[in-house]
């Protein structure tokens, strides 16, 4: 009979650090940690020496100093007396504005082009293929310059709108396209309920949210009725009424009117001025990214197997309902992830604003502020921090959505 004995207690030997798989990864990580630390110490030491030699230090106090430069495109109050921090905030809002606008229009361009590329109309599908190939294969920088050139060098100057035999005229007498920007009518309230214009708009927003909530309730109720009786009541007209009635009433009470831009002296006055740089950036980003989104949409639709479409048709669904109820929900699952990264790309590419003089955060914080204060390291770090936060927030929001549409497997 044999007795079970404990395995011999292996005494730890130094060579086991390399040869024993239990310890080897620890050894490697220790080496890597030391190498990393050395690299950081080396770079930090160089940085300190260089800064001392240049008489600089790392300090963010410049953010509180007076900026001393003007920004013509701004969403919040700002003048040259404001601080650098305020200028950076103006830039951040401008970045978010152009990124938001470009995301919406790029999605529209992309979806339209992607669907039309699959059209059975030969000329349309070829045209869309040409659009996609041309815009994907030329740098977005060149597109921004091209569209900015159209906005500044091709558009007529305000003086051409002047006089009886003017060479240019306003579009529908409402919108003026000039080389200084596009002037569009501005809505305002003649007798708003609040003195502050912003509060009136908040009220409008609240009403819209209320309508949205009410339509959701109405739809849920319709679904209940359908579950009980099998007949779905028509919700279209009630929803339309819920949306429009309070809105129109509010507009009527507050007296909505439009301030139309008009030529005063040598320039247009009134209305909202949308700068040529904003339009160039917005349009170039959307049409460039739209080409990429078109490819994603096409791939997504093609990823839905033909059997799905045929099965839906065999159930007697009409082509539109086949698209809405069967193909699109499945295609979206494929389209959404690359769409997220395109939105991220738009946000990152909006930093090219500096090229056309649009005051985004790269142009204010990373451009003028950096050059005026000479605080290169601080400015670039803050800039990176902003973009990193924006990217992470977008991907987080989209990941949540992604998880909600994911295939629920057993």
């Amino acid at each position: 009979m044999t007795t079970l004995t404990d395995p011999p207690k292996a005494s730890f030997r130094l060579s086991m650090l390399i040869n024993d798989t239990r310890y080897r990864s620890l050894t490697f990580q220790a080496i890597a940690a030391v190498a990393l630390a050395l690299a950081f110490v080396y770079l930090g030491n160089n940085l300190m020496q260089n800064l001392r030699a240049a008489g600089l230090n790392i300090s963010y106090s410049f953010l509180g100093d007076q900026a001393g430069y003007d920004i013509n495109q701004r969403l919040i109050e700002y003048d040259s007396q404001s601080t650098h921090a305020r200028a950076a905030l103006v830039g951040i809002l401008n970045t978010l504005l152009v990124a938001f606008l470009a995301c919406i229009t790029a999605t529209i361009f992309g979806v339209v082009a992607g669907v039309l590329r699959l059209s059975n109309n030969w000329i349309i599908s070829k045209l869309m293929a040409v659009y996609v190939e041309i815009f994907r294969n030329i740098p977005v920088l060149i597109w921004i310059i091209i569209i900015f050139t159209i906005m500044t060098a091709v558009m007529p100057g305000p003086r051409e709108f002047k006089g009886d035999n003017a060479t240019s005229s306003m579009f529908l007498d409402l919108v003026a396209f000039t080389n200084r920007g596009v002037y569009i009518p501005m809505p305002f309230f003649e007798n708003g309920l609040f003195g502050n214009a912003a509060l009136n708009w908040v009220l409008v927003l609240l009403v819209a949210m209320g309508s949205w909530y009410a339509t959701r309730k109405a739809n849920a109720r319709a679904a209940e009725v359908q579950a009980e009786t099998g007949i779905r009541p028509n919700t279209f007209w009630t929803n339309l009424a819920i949306w429009l009635a309070p809105f129109i009433a509010l507009m009527f009470i507050m007296g909505l009117s439009w301030e139309v831009p008009a030529l005063k002296g040598f320039n247009f006055k009134g209305g909202i001025k949308v700068g040529g740089s904003l339009i160039a950036l917005w349009f170039a980003l959307s049409i460039y990214t739209g080409a990429f989104i078109a490819e994603n949409v096409r791939a997504g639709i093609q990823a839905v197997s033909k059997g799905q479409t045929e099965a839906a048709a065999a159930l007697g669904l009409r082509p539109r309902r086949v698209m809405n109820l069967v193909v699109l929900p499945q295609a979206l699952r494929v389209i959404i992830p690359p769409l997220i990264s395109q939105y991220l790309n738009i946000t990152k590419n909006s930093s090219l604003a500096i090229l056309v003089g649009y005051a985004d955060v790269t142009a204010t914080l990373g451009g003028i502020t950096l050059n005026q204060t000479g605080r290169a390291i601080e400015c670039v770090l803050l800039l990176m921090l902003f973009y990193l936060t924006a990217s992470l927030l977008i991907s987080m929001a989209m990941n949540v959505y992604n998880a909600s549409v994911k295939l629920k497997e057993r």
């Binding site: 000329i123 920088l141 310059i145 990373g366 990176m384």
Partner: protein
Amino acid sequence: MADQETNSIAFVATEVIPESAPPARETGAVKWMRENLFSSVTNSILTLVALVFIYLILSGTVPWIVNGLWTTSSLAECREALAGKTGACFSVLTERWNQLIYGFKYPVEEYWRPNLAFVLMLVAIAPVLFFELPRKLLIVTALYPFVAFWLIWGGTILAPLLALIGFVVAGVFFQVFGRTNFALGFFGAVVIALVIWAVGGMLIPEDASENALLSAVPSRDLGGFMLNLMLGVTCVSLSVPLGIALALGRMSDMPLIKGVCVVFIEFIRGVPLITLLFVASVMLAYFFPPESTVDLFLRVVIMITLFSAAYIAEVIRGGLAALPKGQYEAADSLGLDYPQAMRLIILPQALKISIPGIVNVAVGLFKDTTLVSVISMFDLVGMIRGPILASTEWNGVYWELLGFAALLFFVVCYGISQYSQWLERKLHKGH
């Protein structure tokens, strides 16, 4: 009787009616048009809109191109020669050709050097792109970086020669020792190369570049489309090995290595390239030793390489994840250690899957090289926006120049993406 039956029934035809042609609307071009262009009312409207659109574009551009002038010497002269007709002044391209391609400072009598480097580049790249070519050509690829460096920058031949010697000795060392012990072979090779470069660097005399065979050209004299090509090719080829290392690190079991790689990749992918270029132009110099001077070109190459390495790492990680788990387990069960398994089993397959993705990153990166014009380097776009459009002769010639730049990038990028699709079809064995 069969005979009787066939003859007796009067209304049965006795001979075959000759085949008649199908109706005109069901054949040829008409049928094609009915099916592909006018199959429904909506489609007909779409077709007409598209035709009008195409007509508008062509009627605007064709006379402009056809009437274009190629030989005038300034915009005023060109406008005069056109005499009010619509027409392009392509003469800006012919007159400023050298500036567009080589930048405005590269010495004219040395243009043959970048030209030769470009031709050699095509030869060096061919065996990488097309697997049927003889493998011996890879020797050219291996030698190319040193030859190209010497051709473009000139100066003493000792510097690229020393770099080459370092690589060769390190390679031989790795061949000898790496087979048995990967870590020893790899890190030993790195150390040996560094020692050779350090010692050799001291041996090269300071004034070696002064009477060299090829006169030295400083990096700040590079420009034009040449700069775009150089940045694109250099950064892509440097970032592939770095990307592989990052991807392997991200897939590693070691938490520290994995963490470092994840943070690095996500950080780089989260910020725009332009901020990294700002780092290169205003910030990176602070991190080098105080007495060293690293020129802007090298700093930009470093940052763009890090940038594209992060993206390539993600592509390769996709390739690694796409491999069936059985491949990893098979390698383990054969008793291969990690470097062997990666080198012999995993990476050859994973890289093959990732090639189309890597090519896409390369196309994107090549387009992004135009961003260096923002930090005042005179690449193609920088040349157009700066010296050419600002000159008195050609102030206001937008479309010819921008069209030329767009065409150049389109040809290169479209070519590469067609190659990638071709490769994808070829690699797809189809099961």
